[in-house]
């Protein structure tokens, strides 16, 4: 569960300390990947956000599940650094069509009307963490789920948690062994202000990590859009979906590194 980045980029943005921390958190995520592989998941759900790559102002889904048989990696000329880091990764990935379909269809029947897409491609928010976890091993069939973390008005923290609970009900009723990850940094980009890039709110992050570690999900669900925006904690919504899926499990902290530009964190919930 972390924003996985290119160490070269962080060498540039945050100097040697940034590079070292990115390498450390990536080592933790690789270890987390080894434990995930050992469980032989039939499917890997990835909860992440769009950076105005997959969706446009044509439509901004609050919560969207990717259906179909396969998904492509986003390819873009002059891509930004995070997405250039994907260039050596496979271009196409299988989807777990049955699980994605069950999440969508049972959701629609039970009042969780997710948006769905057959075409949206995956950017770094999905593929960097998954490929770091799996390395050269083939990824299991994926179920990508987008949360609108950036284009206001975003879904509420409580709604994201409820989506996780919905996913857990679908998985519990299925024959599949399923892993789920949520991606995105903790505090960065407060108020989405370019002038404030470089600021983080470490106190806020530590409070969030405390709640995750203690399984205190009520205050997490009570976080307002304004609080998340002020702390630059937009992408926490992805984590909250995962927290809803694994509740009442408690998170184990694997890494926390403070950088001027973004705080890097890896946490793990073990359910087996």
């Amino acid at each position: 569960m972390s924003h996985v980045l290119d160490p070269e980029y962080y060498d540039h943005a945050c100097g040697q300390i940034g590079r070292r921390m990115v390498e450390e958190v990536m080592a933790e995520i690789r270890a987390l990947g080894d434990r995930c592989v050992a469980q032989r998941p039939d499917a890997l759900i990835i909860v992440a956000d769009d950076h105005l790559n997959a969706f446009s102002f044509n439509a901004v889904p609050a919560l969207c599940v990717r259906i179909g048989t396969h998904v492509d990696r986003m390819v873009q000329e002059e891509a930004e650094a995070f997405d250039r880091a994907l260039e050596g990764m496979p271009l196409r990935y299988p989807l777990h069509e049955s699980l994605a379909g069950a999440i969508l269809e049972r959701g629609i029947r039970e009042g969780f009307d997710l948006a769905f897409s057959w075409e949206a491609p995956l950017d770094h928010a999905f593929l960097s963490p998954a490929n770091t976890m799996y390395g050269t091993r083939a990824l299991p069939p994926l179920v990508p789920i987008w949360v609108n973390c950036f284009v206001a008005p975003q879904p509420t923290a409580a709604r994201c948690f409820a989506l996780g609970q919905h996913i857990a009900r679908v998985v519990a009723a299925s024959p599949w062994n399923v892993a789920i990850i949520g991606t995105g940094g903790l505090s960065h980009f407060p108020q989405l202000s370019l002038a404030r890039v470089g600021e983080t709110d470490t106190v806020f992050d530590r409070r969030v990590l405390h709640w995750l570690g203690e399984g205190e999900y009520e205050p997490l669900c009570a976080l307002s859009a304004d609080e998340l925006d002020k702390a630059g904690e937009h992408e926490l919504l992805n984590w909250i979906v995962v927290a809803g899926a694994v509740t009442p499990a408690r998170a184990e902290l694997r890494y926390f590194g403070e950088l001027p530009r973004i705080n890097l964190t890896a946490v793990e919930w073990r359910l087996v």
Binding site: L52, S56, F150, L194
Partner: protein, 71 residues
């Protein structure tokens, strides 16, 4: 309305390389038909990423349009 105009322009600049090339070589002509306020137009002509962001341009767009802002 203005926010939408700013962001849809940023999105076009990000995704449409031919339009972006025209914007970089003939900015006034490229923006002529775009519905912007004078303040927004000035910010785009100056390629002032911070100002575009202050005027409602999404951070992830202003940070990812080549030629507007490197990061």
């Amino acid at each position: 309305m203005s926010r939408y105009a700013v962001n849809s322009l940023l999105y076009r600049l990000k995704k449409d390389s031919a339009y972006r090339a025209r914007f970089l070589s003939e900015p006034e002509a490229a923006l002529a038909d775009v519905d912007l306020t004078p303040e927004e137009r000035k910010a785009f002509l100056a390629r002032d990423a911070r100002r575009i962001n202050e005027l409602g341009g999404y951070l992830h767009l202003v940070m990812s349009v080549p030629g507007i802002a490197g990061h």
